[in-house]
């Protein structure tokens, strides 16, 4: 039975991390909220009192009777089922740690334009956003990229390879997520990223390599890939780019 992904239909957002895994694996799935009546179906899981274990928010994945919320938990669940993580416990734990750290970065990227409240417009928190983005560009972005670069460098399976992998020697869902974060940040903060990526050649090589993955390249060129836009997590406000 096809996996059901529930997420907002007009943005990439956190749902995109799950989409990339499903697409790269060639897994059968339905992007529920993008169909007719899909958003009400999603809302039912979130608001209907008869759902015993409701997710706090989307994205969530429905697999038969299972309803799984939290992006990193969804990917941890999908990984071994669609062949996007090694079979050993050590590799799966390490992949999950990397994914959780990636999601922490994603939250910081979201808070770049929403440092005060998700419920307010960006325009209503612009001075605070300017201050927050300054710190992000100066400290947080380099710190996260340095960590990704270090773990790519220290992965012994990457020796002599043009396209490095985060966990072991094969493509895993965390490679896809790092691709997405780099892609999104290059859209949102092109100037800051150009500078920061000079110190992260392995991250750049991973990003370029993932982009060439056969099934993923087909997805990225398709209508299923929603374009980056000013409602998503990665937003291109030039004033936040320094």
């Amino acid at each position: 039975m096809a996996y059901q992904l529930h997420y907002w239909p007009t943005i990439q957002g956190r749902g995109e991390f799950v989409r990339l895994a499903l697409e790269a694996a060639g897994a059968e799935y339905v992007d529920v909220a993008r169909g007719d009546e899909g958003v009400p179906a999603m809302q039912r899981f979130l608001a209907d009192p008869s759902v015993a274990r409701p997710p706090f928010a989307c994205p969530f994945l429905v697999d038969g009777k299972r309803v799984i919320g939290q992006t990193a938990a969804i990917l941890q669940y999908l990984g071994p089922r669609v062949g996007l993580v090694g079979r050993g416990e050590a590799d799966q734990l390490w992949a999950h740690q990397i994914q959780l750290t990636t999601m922490d970065l994603v939250t910081e990227v979201h808070d770049l334009h929403h440092p005060i409240a998700s419920a307010l417009y960006y325009e209503d928190q612009k001075p605070e956003a300017l201050r927050r983005s300054q710190d992000f560009r100066a400290r947080r972005l380099p710190k996260f990229l340095a960590w990704f670069e270090a773990i790519l460098q220290r992965n012994p399976r990457n020796t002599g390879r043009e396209v490095p992998r985060l966990v072991g020697g094969s493509l895993s869902y965390v490679d896809l997520s790092l691709f997405q974060v780099v892609d999104g940040l290059q859209y949102a903060l092109p100037k800051a990223m150009k500078k920061a990526m000079r110190k992260a050649p392995r991250v750049a090589a991973l990003h370029a390599g993932v982009q060439r993955h056969r099934r993923l390249a087909a997805y990225l060129a398709s209508e299923r890939r929603i374009a980056f836009n000013q409602q998503g997590i990665f937003r291109a406000y030039p004033e936040l780019d320094g």
Copy 2:
């Protein structure tokens, strides 16, 4: 062999969620950074290039050759090993989802006093903190508490029980984490919590019940429990309490 917990020695912080699980389970562990030379030992894991899979930040747990970062991942790993989560995959997945949502709440609590940058003092981001706390009290805190209340209400194993549980019928690590968040918020935002908790009687009953747990009560009364203070995640700034 005893578990090694690595975390800052003078604050509860995110390390406390792990401590509570180890203490409630009666597990053997060493709180490394609170001993002599403990902080350098912790820093080595974070900074030494010979560590192949370094955590991005503390807390992290060392179990033999395993080094596990990210609070929710540590608890997911420990849960079945110390008897603080059910054996079934469905219960473990649900517990992890709840824990990840709890950690999202913890990040929002941290950002109450640090909405602009962790690297700056609270005093240097006070106007922004005042604005952020207003939204937190009005929207986010009630939303999170309503979700916890709903999932306690919908857990069929709680029918007729004085002390409800989040997952199944037994104490799990997520109960301990919810206890900690409520405890911390009551310290940080006593007025806002008094009001918000009126609509969350099951959350209040869980908090009171966990506090009476034999091993946990002994821990809370011991010197091992670091007091809440103004360097941790939960900070009592009256101006942020409305």
